[in-house]
Amino acid sequence: MEMFAHAWTALTTTPAAFAAMGGVVWGIIGGALPGISPSITMALLLPFTFGMEPLTAIVLLAATYVGAEYGGSIPAILIRTPGTNAAAATVIDGYEMQLKGRGGEALGISLISGVTGGLFGLIVLVALTEPLAKVALLFTPMAYFALGILAISVIATLAEGMLIKGLITGVLGLMIAMVGTDPQSGVSRFTFGRPELLGGIDYILIMVGVFAVSELLVQAGLPGWQRPQRHMRVKLPSFLTWRRLWRPQLIGSLIGTFEGCMPGAGGSVAAFMSYNEAKRWSRRPEEFGKGSAEGIAAPEAANNTVACTALVPTLTFGIPGSNSTAVLLGGLLIHGLQPGPLLFTREPEFIYGLYGGLAVANVVQVPLGMLIMTPCLWLVSRPKPYLLAGIYGLIFSGVYSINQSLLDLWIVLGAGLFGYGLRYFGFPFLPLVLGVILGHMIESSYRRALVLSQGDHAIFLQDPVSAGLLAAAVLLVIGSLVRNWYSARRQKRSLQDGLDRAGTD
């Protein structure tokens, strides 16, 4: 009851409810633009949140994530181009329905399934987050150091075949985090005599650069996207259709819950897994791939569930499992909100206000999704050069507004070029961003632990939580190395078999 009271107070005494609505609208628009992922949509918004109350800012970002997951299905259904990665599974049956003249119905199914999944994910978030956060009360400086190392290791090992590259980008992120004044001794590090760098490099600059600017650079080399038809109305599913959809929605929600709580898995994995499972458990599996309503309901429920459940590891341990939650974590830290158990005891209004904001965002998604369909289609059908040029201007204006520093703009442009290089050479992004965000925590926990032990590194193994987390990190890395080795051996063998066959022929 106390939780509802906190949420109600937060929603009625702050602009959080309006932020939820604004975030959903912005998210739907951003998600509907092909190539603009939820994380980019959120990163573009980050500079605007600086002057806001923490709750309003975080609700705005979280609601953007929710809206973007639905927005991504709009071009997926109408022009066979997923607006977000997570909407790729929606293309299969969504576009088939559009070809049969049932595009409006497909959008309605996507919208309703997304809301169902989102509300399911919210219940899981509320139920899991606080008990899990209490586990973090056991954490010492050694454990926090080990947690940071584990977080980067988890994210680095998730990209298949890219373990070393993932670890390299994690280290590069930590290197960037070293720039600025050392908090213990007060000496400056890697500032090159620039006073603007004494405070370090804001992770927001790195995030906007590697997510948004690098995407712009990639988009500049790609052909223009197909334009959708200008008029389309969302048609909500009938009661009969709805009754058929509960099973795929439940499958999507359950898979989305599991995937969202696992760092790194993300909405796209959940969407494809739930599509396959929904097909397996369907009474009409033959309709999948030919315009099945269930084929839209399952992935859309899954990726919207992930939008809520991905907050579980972010809020409890400060480990963002995806690019979008990394941006959200950046937003939390910008506003001085440190994830973990203390957040729940010190800032209950914030936590329950965030839950309330997410509930509002999910519910208002239905009317807003229907209302803004026409303006959204108008915007998406604008020529790509105008849209990209406008986004370029928005990035520069938004970033300048943070510190009113031109150096920040150069850093963002540099980070964009760096991000483009990472994409080109096949390096994953997320470990870099995590390294930049967690760098300060990892270093300060490491040094505090060594002060406690008088410089004896054995303290990291004497603390049970720290030892457990470090062991998990080592096991993950070894497991990933073994998997890569087997995969390389399999590839080598199949290549040899191919060459042998070619020789025999």
């Binding site: 070293m178 213990q184 390389a488």
Partner: protein, 162 residues
Amino acid sequence: MTRDTIVALGLMAVAGLYWLGADQIRVSKLEGIIGAQVVPKGLAVSLAVLSVLLIAQELLRPRRAAGPAGEPEATGPRAHLRAAGMLLIGVGYLALVGTIGYMPALVLLVVASALYLGQSPSAWLVLVAVGLAVLYYLIFVRLLGIPLPPGVWPDVWQALAG
């Protein structure tokens, strides 16, 4: 030599430079057991070791068997040239914005980017650019109260006035 090997060699150079940079960090009497240099030096060593592992991985990997994970996302010289052009437009904006001010620089940025991305030159394009500049000015300066770079114009007007 594969692309990953070249990158790894570059990263080793970065690690070396980072070590040298860390070595330049002043030693303070306040720093206690672990100095401000220790973690940066550890990171430089980690980067060098990981770069060596990347090279080893490349040497052990069977040829022609690069998986999808190693495939670059944006390929082709034309795509890189397009990206470089877009980046240069950004550099041009940054070079100009301090002098000519936010609004004119933003109009130029939008016009140059849109033309570069294939939009035909037209009066409509200029109108869109001016419209966007005004919209952003209203949002940032009027609504959020954030001063954007005025350029040399205030000095020019002051000189002209008196």
